[in-house]
Amino acid sequence: MKLLYFAWVRTNIGKAEEEVVAPDHVQTVEDLLDWLATLGPQYAAALDRRNVVKVAINHEYVEHDHPVRPDDEIALFPPVTGG
């Protein structure tokens, strides 16, 4: 799956995007965040305020219990502050 990071999720993780192959047990957004948080301290820091992290799959907002699939484009970011 393709992961995109924005704002402080991006600056904490230190990259804007990456391709990952998640383990089989990663079935939902929640699973994905749990797994990402184990990849290193910068990921753990970025995902520390877990409930605040917003998720979009293929440009649509989803909740944390939404399923994820290998060909998804999944974006993680803070609450938006435009306008």
Partner: protein
């Protein structure tokens, strides 16, 4: 119409396009958001707006469609800039036209309230103490909430 762009926009020219040649328009409502100078509060000397290309356009088009479904509108315009902006710079323009003024006024307020909580933009403020990501405001959530159905 949706425009996501780095460049500034000309308010007069943009609004003129919404009304010129359409005499069904009785009211034109618009809102422009600008970068405030909060230097006295140790805050903004400039800011950088990041967004999610592709998703931004889709979410803004969805917000436009929602406004058109709720009010009888002649036209809708949303322009949102990204990149580095300085105090006094324009950030966003939303404008609506309708035969009736309440439809124009209400839909204009709706557009900016929804955009604030739904369009994937993030502000990085450069202040005297360094750069910091702007925190989302509860008041913006409440403003969007009042349009929920």
């Amino acid at each position: 119409m949706i425009k996501v762009q780095r460049e500034d926009f000309d308010i007069g020219a943009e609004l003129a396009q919404l009304t010129d040649g359409n005499a069904k328009v009785g009211g034109l409502a618009s809102f422009v958001g600008l970068v405030r100078d909060l230097a006295d509060q140790g805050a903004v000397s400039a800011m950088t707006l990041e967004h999610y290309p592709g998703m931004t356009e889709r979410r803004l088009a969805e917000i436009e469609a929602e406004a058109r479904s709720r009010w009888p509108l002649e036209d809708v315009l949303i322009i949102h800039r990204y990149g580095r902006l300085e105090p006094g710079d324009r950030i966003v323009l939303v404008a609506t036209t309708s035969a009736h003024r309440q439809a124009a006024l209400e839909s204009c307020a709706f557009l900016i309230d929804w955009l604030k909580t739904k369009a994937p933009f993030w502000k990085l403020e450069e202040g005297t103490k360094g750069a910091a990501w702007v925190e989302a405001k509860e008041s913006d959530d409440r403003a969007a909430e009042k349009w929920k159905r």
